[in-house]
Symmetry: C2
Subunit: 168 residues, 2 copies
DNA sequence: ACGATGTCGTTACCCTAGGTAATGACCTAT
DNA sequence: ATAGGTCATTACCTAGGGTAACGACATCGT
């Protein structure tokens, strides 16, 4: 079993110029308080819009997120997975149970600690991640392909910043 | 009753240079397909993280989103509100009912079409929007204040792009 | 060595919030 | 006038958050 070396975080370095962009924003929209409101609404609306594009999938958003975490970060316990996803352990336990029932995740007992069970993604699970990732990203990738390359770079940099904010 | 002139969309104009930023991204992360995966994960994770900061609120995420839409865009029907929020009419009808029960939204019959009811935000609703916006944004605004100004500009531009994607 | 305490995972149950189906009220077009 | 379309609501299902409680196991203190 190999795990994707998926690393959205890029190393930070100062004074990188961004080439050109197709949008301008007033300086007032860059102040923390107004930006917080705009960004919150935009992220919420984008999440809802993305949800529309998962109709024919066999796996839910939550299940995919957990499975992708196992694919990206390797085996871990239920509690660690819950912390990674910022949810409580009981709901994560239920999500994991669904993935185990589907044969996408395997439970292995920790030899040194009988309380813990280590969760690993199965080959079927990894196949599902790759296929689901491709299918789910299709719509968004199409929208992104229609953007100016400079706008895609804006979003790529914003992705790093959003990840940084989400993990703080 | 006055409505906030809240306009996250900035007019588009080409060839605007972005000053400096504290992050770099590899060119591969700017291609549509990889960026779609990264961006989807980042937006999903950011949404979950933001949800952690609403503990003591009296109003739910969904209710606030609907109320804010009425505050920002003015009176509209239940169906129009559902379309704006990308949900079906029945769930929106239920959300509206909760807001009416709380006295934050008022139903007015359309004088020319007995089927329709026009929803308007009340003074109490507008107060609630302003207070909730301030309270909910506090955490995010603090995170944003810690960023480099150039990074905030990246996020402000990304906000416009996300709104554009969400409404496409 | 053994009991008290703490931790991991699960189950049970509540709530919010998506979805579809069906219905009633009303409008519109033939 | 009536048939069909539209708006809003209600009823019901499912997913997925939360807390409480419990069993199994580990660890620590005496």
């Amino acid at each position: 079993m190999t795990y994707d070396t998926y690393m959205p975080h890029a190393p930070a370095s100062r004074d990188e110029p961004v080439p050109r962009a197709t949008t301008t924003v007033p300086a007032s929209a860059c102040r923390p308080a107004p930006l917080a409101g705009d960004l919150r609404v935009a992220v919420t609306r984008a999440t809802r819009r993305l949800r529309l594009e998962r109709s024919s999938d066999q796996i839910t958003d939550t299940q995919y997120a957990a499975l992708a975490a196992l694919a990206n970060r390797g085996p871990m316990t239920t509690t660690a997975l819950a912390e990674d996803q910022h949810v409580q352990t009981p709901p994560m336990s239920r999500t994991v149970a669904a993935l185990v029932d589907s044969g996408l995740v395997r439970r292995d007992e920790d030899p040194t600690d009988g309380r813990q069970t280590v969760l690993s993604i199965t080959d079927a699970g990894m196949t599902e991640v790759k296929e689901t990732r491709r299918r789910r990203n299709a719509w968004l990738a199409q929208r992104l392909a229609e953007l100016d390359p400079a706008d895609r770079e804006i979003l790529a940099r914003a992705t790093v910043l959003l990840e940084r904010i989400a993990t703080s």
